[in-house]
Symmetry: C2
């Protein structure tokens, strides 16, 4: 473990000062060509590499950003992160990831933890719908030096930028599509509506019904959790009703899959008897034999755009910044599970 060479080592070897070496390495105009060449050569020879930590301390920029997500092992989040990383790395940033697993305390804790390591910004998808009350979060907000950008699961907070998709439109389009397929009793499996995204999908669903003269039936609206087992459970419930639905729009692909499995096990046909539409366009929806219609959220682009918003914000820290709320347009991908021939 030979210790790394510093600009002091180079300076000593050349009978110069660290200041001069620093300037030479940074192509500062005030250094003679000779000296610069000498320094550059010596630096190469001694395997010099800038210690970014020292630079960060001095400059106040760590060139690290923190990304906080509920979990990383989900296609949606890992794809967003991919987008963020690809957008930010060329600009010199590194991405630190944190997971919360929907635990309130972890969310606050990780924000603080990131702030302590002096990240230049935080991009996050909230996992705790009541976040704003918390002091750890407020601290970040007051701390106007470190930009905050929400993506996907945001909170409507003044002065905080966000990148989301138009979940209302997603819900609306999905429902409208089902109506166009001739469905009239369209059930909706929704997730925790304290989150804007889920509430908006729900509202889009209702609006589509309204616009098409279909009265909504609250008994067809069931709250679920985003996994296969819960989707099955909800489907079971729906199928037990006096008048079962002829379509299910789920705000989660996993719940949609569960419903699909339950329905087929009961001998019902998809899409003949019941159409199904999910949300997120998870990879498996197109891999199955009975492919599942779903709403694509363009996670990669969402990540890239969130990164761009962050970049804009860091570059005008001192200016009064106006929060930017970017809304991407989702796309309904129609597949077999809802396409009646």
């Amino acid at each position: 473990m030979e210790k790394k060479t510093t600009i002091y080592d180079i300076a000593a070897k050349l009978g110069l000062t660290a200041a001069t070496v620093s300037r030479a390495l940074n192509n500062n105009a005030k250094i003679s060509l000779n000296t610069r060449k000498l320094v550059l050569e010596t630096a190469l020879e001694m395997n010099y590499e800038q210690n970014k930590l020292a630079l960060a301390l001095k400059s106040g920029k760590s060139y690290n950003v923190g990304v906080i997500v509920p979990r990383i092992d989900s296609n949606f989040f890992s794809t967003v992160i991919r987008g963020i990383e690809e957008e930010l790395y060329p600009k010199g940033y590194h991405v630190i990831i944190c997971q919360t697993h929907n635990q309130e305390n972890l969310e606050i804790e990780k924000i603080n933890s990131l702030l302590n390591v002096q990240v230049d910004g935080i991009l996050m998808s909230i996992s705790n719908a009541d976040l704003e009350e918390d002091k750890g979060f407020n601290k970040l907000l007051k701390n106007k030096g470190t930009p905050l950008v929400f993506f996907d699961r945001k909170k409507d907070i003044k002065g905080v930028s966000s990148v989301t998709i138009d979940d209302f439109k997603g819900g609306y389009d999905a429902t409208k599509h089902l109506i166009e397929q001739g469905c009239r009793r369209i059930a909706h499996l929704y997730n925790d509506r304290k989150f804007e995204i889920f509430n908006n999908r729900f509202l889009g669903y209702r609006q589509a019904l309204l616009d098409n003269g279909i009265e909504f039936d609250e008994s067809l609206e069931i709250e679920t959790i985003s996994n296969v087992a819960e989707g099955r459970k909800s489907a079971r419930e729906l199928l037990g009703r006096d008048r079962p639905p002829d379509a299910i729009f789920s705000s989660s692909d996993f719940a949609a899959l569960g419903a699909l499995q339950e329905i087929r096990e009961r001998g019902l046909g998809i899409p003949e008897d019941i159409c199904i539409v999910g949300f997120s366009n998870e990879p498996f929806t197109k891999f199955m034999e009975l492919t599942i219609t779903s709403v694509d959220q363009f996670p990669m682009e969402m990540g890239k755009v969130a990164a761009q918003v962050f970049l804009e914000e860091v570059s005008n820290i001192q200016d009064i910044k106006i929060a930017k709320n970017i809304v991407l347009t989702p796309e309904l991908i129609v597949r077999k599970s809802s396409l009646k021939t």
Copy 2:
């Protein structure tokens, strides 16, 4: 953007020295109870928070680790990363992620980049099979201060620890299972055998044939790339043969899926006519109606174990460290695609 308070601010307010404040905050024994209490209170009051960057520069430990993977938006890698993050965060580490997209130059570049930001270690799955030649890589190896741990896709390099699964056993078990199902003409779709993992799966496959008295037929061994389209292509090729196979063992779930789709489109039955086994136990393999037999690699555990190996290595930097090569045991998950009743 009020600037953060430092120990100097606290010291000034109390008429003390930064040194004293530092000691008080760190519960150093040599500080009087009074002073400590005073400092602690004032620190709270002034919203003091330790600047980890300064600490890192002073101590030489950044408490950051770098994780390099080909891409993060794959279930396998994101799950490994999840394991790493969950294991390391409680110990005070943050995880920086880097993707290479299998580009050689990026791999070297990102290693250097991580080294420059003074990560305390690097955990990586190589994406470039010829990595060892490169000087950026050698630098990391010589730089014994920063531990390196390979996971999954490793290179056999003296002194470098690794955590992998027993791919030979994975390939062997998969093939043996197919033989037990009565298959005799078992094709193998393998990926680039310059990688140990793929070569070992290949060797396991051959050994299983050998052990069961089945002569292997090189025409049944086809190189593919891990995606659906390539899997289809390979299947098409195999089905065009004079004597098509009665089973396919693919070293990738995606290629297996492609093969499955191609086979069914041709009206052949799975598993009746052709059995299929994939590798990785991607989520979709169990979601499909025709579930796919696959080999689970326990990515979460792999991540956790890799993190543990790293932790061990950082704690004995000065000691001569003996590389640890941990091999996890994979598990064949038998599903419909290969289970003849």
